[in-house]
Every structure is written in structure tokens, then in C-alpha cells.
Symmetry: C2
Subunit: 342 residues, 2 copies
DNA sequence: GTGAAAGCGCTAACAA
DNA sequence: TTGTTAGCGCTTTCAC
């Protein structure tokens, strides 16, 4: 095979047009499978494009057609395990729509979020899927001012801008508190992250305290951590907490990874879980399947959230007269082996 | 504040120009911090842009300037834990360069990779960072034909197209075999993934067998799995393997997650690790920090790979006369607590 | 320090 | 079925 492109510049439609003896417009039609083109012409064009190694310029195409097949997905983190899952479901759901997700990561910083959003909006995507309901004023204004569909995901506790798909983290925390107190636990501790910007974790925490209050209880002790391997932190923090408050009979963790670390710690010490001490996390990570005892948790509906959000964007990008939707999913308690049965 | 954009169309430079009484050209200069603009004009423009809520159209900008600040990052998976780490390091490293990573996921499918690559190249990014050295002929042709910098990452065992940053997985496997045999293990089993397209896992496996051969050994037994939670699979497969071959004194896992599952299984059964049986994985996940025994592993240099790859792209996008580089990093054995000391 | 004209590579709309 | 024309919203270049 001869070197297809010896030029020092990228190939254009015009090159394919000249190589095939067909007008640029018809070449464009063939390459996009648009309109009626005779088979003979189609073959000629396809062959020319292939041997040249032509790759269309979507920038020019997008400018001319005012259409961009990109969907901006803005999430706080990729190391959380939660978001890769959401993302892969968005990706799967978008598969046959011609839309492509583009990911932006904010590291839980509102300023970074604003910046990433601005950057992404300037590419005029077909939709925006963004985690959470809390944004800077400027970010909120951008989202409100745009005509493209916006889906805020993960959380429904608050005011949405356009469409919303998520769960109530407040109620998730509340229900967990109810389950725990119903199981007879009374000395309850909490281990969470030192992340003021993780609003969903905060809401679960608040809902949890509210649930305890309903049962006439307050948190017996709490511990917060920042950074590091969540599993290792779970272990450490659990030790710290239990040293300080040996009478605890339950620990609620802000996520499954720290919870799993706590579970490992308790197991290693030969503590009787769930009789002596109960444990619960949050997210419903399938990672937990590998442990000898299954940590109690609550499914965050990550998969479903990604799928629904993608569907909304896809639907709206085909017909922009569709109304915005607010979808609240119901997280389900998975009692596992670390809450005692009543 | 009054509604900034009551039009049904996105704002253009012209709108800002009219609102501020400054020419489009000067508005453009202000918004890009280019050229000399008087302070008075700058203020006027900035104010107009802000109150209107103008978001520049990068599509038009890119077409006109022939410059796109995007870097395509093409990886097999996001649920692997390995790639999010690489990605976040790329992202960090690119932070101050004005370049933005755009992620494409291939699910270990060469066809999907080709498709994603084509899609991304059609946006004319400033660089491509792509996992692995194995690609379809068409993908390889696209990468060869393009003028933009290409960095193949993770693996150095093979022929690169342009720049390459990675480790030798073959030698990683080989060195692990040497360490294991040196520690006196003789009945060695292997647990891996059923993924023909995971070339790096395959190379480690081959290198491992080669290392055993040097010590006059062959694998005593092997087991391969597909799908599911790696931790749970590690547990199951270890059970299967040990049931079938109870005389094994070592198991090498194709990655840390399955290895950790195996470790949990052995601990639960009260087996004496590493005296009775030794275990090792691969990747150097910090997840392992939380376990009571630390799994032996080998650092895949994920962080460093991402950083170096990003540096190469950044450097080349500033000066395209820079030569391509091949960087081989050295994975370090982390013996942890699951290989017995000699 | 500022502005006017031309054009980036493609596609919409229309003409043949 | 195919071709022609006129932009899409910016930036480059050059003029003032």
C-alpha cells in the first residue's frame, strides 16, 4: 500500500472530491449516508476516501450544521467508583444514538466545576449531564441560559434547573437510621469524609441524624477523615472511634469503601458482627461481594441514574419540545450480614 | 438582575460587539487576552460579555485558528481502577497547559477502539494518548497518517507508532516468577482473566511462565474468569483452584483485585499466608492498604505513565519539531506480607 | 490601539 | 441523482 497522505496538511473533502471526480457536496452526502446517491458514485467516493485515509473534520461540520454529537458529563471524581459506573451506563445508553459522552472532572470544587462547564458549553454540546444540584451562581446562570437539555443527577434534594434524576440522600440516611434503630442498636457512631462540598454525603448525614432523633437518639460519636485509601482510612478511623467510644454498638459509614475497611478491622479483632457491633455503608458497590461478610448498604441506583439521564438527553436532542423531567429513584436497603435481624 | 439572554439563539461575538460598541475583532482580542487593548475598552467588553452571559463558540474558534485544545485519551475501561488513575494524572499534568483531556473508552474491543479513535481524530485534537501497542490495521494507519503527537501508554513490549510510555509487562511477569521461585515456592498456580484482548495481562502471563521455566518449573494449575466483581471472582476462583490442586503453595493473580479476593478467601479459611501458601497480584493498588495482610504486588507505574504521556503531548503541541520519545519505566516489586521472606 | 476583509472546511438550501 | 451558492462564528492578516 502506498503512503496515503504525503501532504503536510490534513486532508479535506476537496481532496476526496478531486480524487474521485465527484463534487464536494456529493462526497459529503456519501460520507454521512444522507440523501440519494447512486451506488456507482458511492463506491467511487468511499474508495477514494479510504485510500487517501480521509478523516472528516467535525469542527467544520459542526459549525456548518449547528449540530454537535457531544454530551458533556460533569462529575466530581473518577476515583470514587461511583462515577465510573454512572459514566459507563451513560456511555452504553448513548451507544446507538450517535451521541458521545465527554467527561469533565471537578474534584468536588465548585470553581473547577464552573470552569469545566464553561469550557464544555463553549463546544455547544447536545446536552449536559452534571452531578448534583449545588453550583456556583455563574454556573447556574450558564445552565439556565442555555437552550440545550440539562440533567442534574444523583440527588433530588433541592431545586433543579431542568431535568433531574437521582435519589433523596436525606431520606436514604433517614431510612438507614430507622432500620438500625429498629434492629435495636442504640449507641450509634458515624464515620464520614471531611468534604464540605460533598453535598450528598452531607445530606445523608443530616437525614441519618434526623432518623435517630425520631427514635429519641443522638449520635454517640463521630469521626471524619480526608484523603488516602478509603479502605485503609475505614480501618484506622474505626479503630480510633472504638478506642474512644468502646460502648458503640453500631457504626454508619458515609460510603461502602470506608465501611468495608471498618468491617475488616472488626473481623480481624474477632468482634462479633453484627451481634456485638453492627456496620453499614452506602452505595451498593459490588466490590462488597468479595468479603466474607456482606456489609449492609443502600443501593445508590448509580446504573439506573446514568441510563435515565442519557435517555432524557437523547430524547430531547431529537425533539426539543419534550418537557423536562424529574425522576426520583428509590434506594433499597441491602441488609447484608452486618445488621442483626430482629 | 435582568434575564441576560432572551433570544432563542446562542449569543455571538457580534452581540457582545453591539452591546459594547466595540468591533468584533477587539472583543475577540479581549476575550482571548491577545494583543494590546486599552483598559477602558477591555472593561467595556468584559462587562458586556458578562451581563449578556456570552459563552464563546469554540467550534468556530477552532475552525478559524486551526487549533484545538483537546487531547484524546483512549483507554479500555474505567471500571478497572487502573485507568482512572492514569487519567487523573494526565488531567493534573495538563492543568496548566490549556489542554483538556477527552476520554474515549473501548471496552477492550479493537473495533470499538478504531471507531472511537476515528471519532476523536475527526475533532482534530492536539494529541492522542492511547493505551496499548496493539491496534487494528485501520487504527494504526490513522495514527501513522496524522501529524498530531501520539503517545501509546502502559506497555513497551512491541513496536510503537510515535512516542511510547510504559513498562514491560513481560518482564514484570518474569521478575515476579523469579521472586517467587527464589522464595522457595514450587507448586505455582495462576488465576487470570479470560480476555484475549488484554494484551498486557497476556504478556505478564507469558513472562511469568518464562520465569518459571528458567527455574525449571511449569505452572501447576491455572484458572481463568470473566466478568463480575473481581474481588468475588478472586475468592471463587481461588476456592476452585485449591479444591482441584490442594498442593499449590503459590498463586499468582493477573491483578490486585482478584488477588485480594484470594487473600480474603485464604484468611477466612485460616490458611497460613505466606508460609502455607503465597499470593501475589499486579498493579500496586492503594486499595490493598486496608487489608490486614498486604498483598504482594508490582507497581504498574500508572501515575508516572499518565504524567509523562501528558508532558510529551504538551511539549509537542508547543513545538512540533520535538522528537518522539520511548520511555520505559521500571515496575518495582512490593513484597507485602504474602510472599515469605527467604 | 482598533477595525475591515477574507476564509477556516464543512453543510443547508436550492437549482439543475 | 448531482451540483452550486452562501454562509456557520470565529481568527488571521493587514490596514489604519
Amino acid at each position: 500500500m502506498s503512503r496515503p497522505n504525503d501532504l503536510r496538511r490534513p486532508l479535506t473533502l476537496r481532496d476526496v472530491s478531486e480524487a474521485s471526480g465527484v463534487s464536494e457536496m456529493t462526497v459529503s452526502r456519501v460520507l454521512r449516508n444522507r440523501g440519494d446517491v447512486s451506488n456507482a458514485t458511492r463506491e467511487k467516493v468511499l474508495k477514494a476516501a479510504k485510500t487517501l485515509g480521509y478523516v472528516p473534520n467535525k469542527i467544520a461540520g459542526a459549525l456548518a450544521s449547528q449540530r454537535v454529537n457531544l454530551v458533556a458529563v460533569i462529575i466530581p471524581s473518577l476515583s470514587n467508583l461511583v462515577f465510573p459506573k454512572v459514566l459507563s451506563n451513560i456511555s452504553d445508553e448513548l451507544e446507538d444514538t450517535g451521541l458521545q459522552p465527554v467527561v469533565g472532572v471537578t474534584n468536588y470544587s465548585p470553581e473547577k466545576e464552573e470552569q469545566v462547564l464553561y469550557e464544555m458549553l463553549s463546544w455547544r454540546p447536545s446536552g449536559v449531564i452534571i452531578a448534583g444540584l449545588e453550583h456556583t451562581d455563574a454556573a447556574r446562570a450558564m445552565l439556565q441560559n442555555t437552550d440545550i437539555p440539562v440533567v442534574e443527577i444523583m440527588d433530588v434534594d433541592g431545586e433543579g434547573i431542568d431535568s433531574v434524576v437521582g435519589i433523596s440522600h436525606r431520606r436514604a440516611g433517614l431510612h438507614m437510621a430507622e432500620a438500625i434503630t429498629a434492629a435495636g442498636y442504640r449507641q450509634i457512631g458515624f464515620i464520614g469524609t471531611k468534604m464540605p462540598e460533598d453535598h450528598r454525603a452531607r445530606k445523608r448525614f443530616e437525614g441519618f441524624k434526623e432518623g435517630l432523633a425520631k427514635a429519641g437518639l443522638t449520635l454517640a460519636d463521630t469521626e471524619f477523615y480526608a484523603g488516602g485509601s478509603a479502605l485503609a482510612k475505614g480501618r484506622e478511623m474505626t479503630e480510633t472511634l472504638l478506642r474512644r467510644s468502646p460502648n458503640l454498638d453500631f457504626i454508619y459509614y458515609s460510603n461502602d469503601m470506608v465501611g468495608a475497611g471498618g468491617l475488616l478491622y472488626c473481623s480481624d479483632l474477632g468482634m462479633d458482627v453484627p451481634a456485638q457491633i453492627g456496620l453499614a455503608g452506602f452505595n451498593g458497590l459490588d466490590l462488597l461481594d468479595g468479603f466474607s461478610q456482606r456489609l449492609a448498604t443502600m443501593d445508590a441506583c448509580r446504573g439506573e441514574i446514568g441510563r435515565k439521564a442519557a435517555q432524557i438527553v437523547a430524547k430531547r436532542s431529537q425533539n426539543d419540545q419534550v418537557a423536562s423531567e424529574v425522576i426520583e429513584l428509590e434506594p433499597v436497603l441491602q441488609p447484608g450480614d452486618t445488621i442483626r435481624r430482629i
